[in-house]
Subunit: 195 residues, 2 copies
């Protein structure tokens, strides 16, 4: 990795978020090694995944308008979700990052998305299991992450869905579509059909 963005992130993110970003960088790199992806790119995406978290909800709404983003019903009612797509666009324009897999990983890291690539899968999961996370069930997902990427992401999605439903909050269709995609892929794999 030619450039290190840690100093920049330390300035724009609060301490907790900065430490979390370091944790996601580390976990993304470890997952990349485990699953045969490029460690440096995974670390870069992991480190920068919350670049959009430097903004308040109001700022994210303004940025989204400036950037021409079309908000869906979930984003309209949960503007904090926009840190992902806003962050993805800004690492491109502000930091000059042109690696589309890294941009996708940042853009999809909160909700996930059907069809997202390997790097995005690693960062999505790393965001869940990095060493600073301590929610109930995280150990189980960490163990699954060592054995089966799809199963680990599925468990993370299920956990999110249960959490969101229990609290009466909105579910993002992108998460649902990713979950469906993984279940079908796993079923095909079990039947010996290539996906």
């Amino acid at each position: 990795m030619g450039e290190d963005y840690r100093e920049l992130l330390k300035q724009v993110l609060n301490e907790e978020r900065y430490l979390h970003s370091l944790g996601v960088k580390k976990a993304s790199g470890e997952l990349a090694c485990l699953y045969g992806a490029d460690k440096a790119r995974a670390e870069k995406a992991g480190l920068l995944h919350d670049y959009g978290k430097q903004f308040s909800e109001e700022e994210l709404l303004v940025k989204s308008r400036e950037l021409g983003l079309r908000l869906d019903i979930v984003e309209e009612n949960n503007p904090e979700l926009l840190h992902a797509s806003v962050g993805a666009l800004l690492v491109k324009t502000e930091l000059g990052i042109e690696d589309e897999d890294i941009i996708e990983a940042i853009s999809c890291h909160t909700t996930g998305k059907a069809g997202m690539g390997r790097l995005a899968c690693l960062v999505f999961l790393a965001d869940f299991i990095e060493e600073n996370r301590s929610f109930p069930g995280v150990e189980e997902i960490r163990e699954l992450a060592l054995k089966d990427l799809d199963k680990a992401i599925l468990r993370a999605l299920d956990q999110t869905i249960n959490y969101v439903v229990k609290r009466g909050r909105l579910l993002h269709p992108d998460s649902i579509n990713l979950r469906n995609e993984i279940i079908v892929k796993m079923a095909n794999r079990n039947r010996g059909v290539s996906s």
Copy 2:
């Protein structure tokens, strides 16, 4: 209601499904009275909602192809869901029903759909709470149905989502979008914003 389809349904559905259809007819009519909708149309939609259940999964796949339906990933992997859209098209062509609200109610009764009309909401809920249903939590949904249509449908959707996630099955995006729509509508209502 000019025509009674009970004899026809008795012939094409098994006994349990036929009794369920009578239950949904009754519950749809009751909900229509409660919520100021047309009782006869609600009863007709409720009675006919499972018209597509006369077919096996294989037959539903054949019918879908014949009718030019485009299957989504959830339907491809759960062909039994097709009884709703196939049934909706067949009551039109085979029974000559042209009431688009009734056709919509039949089409949306299993997954629900964002933007579906009042009649479809009544039949969706009636299908959950009709007198032959006896799953855990049904009484609570029945009580909610007497007081607040949106809350009752939301509870039914949450219950379905929990059930489906627990069993590792696919979630239909239409149910998720309906749930999101209801939550936003209820939040706007609580804030005094008309939807």
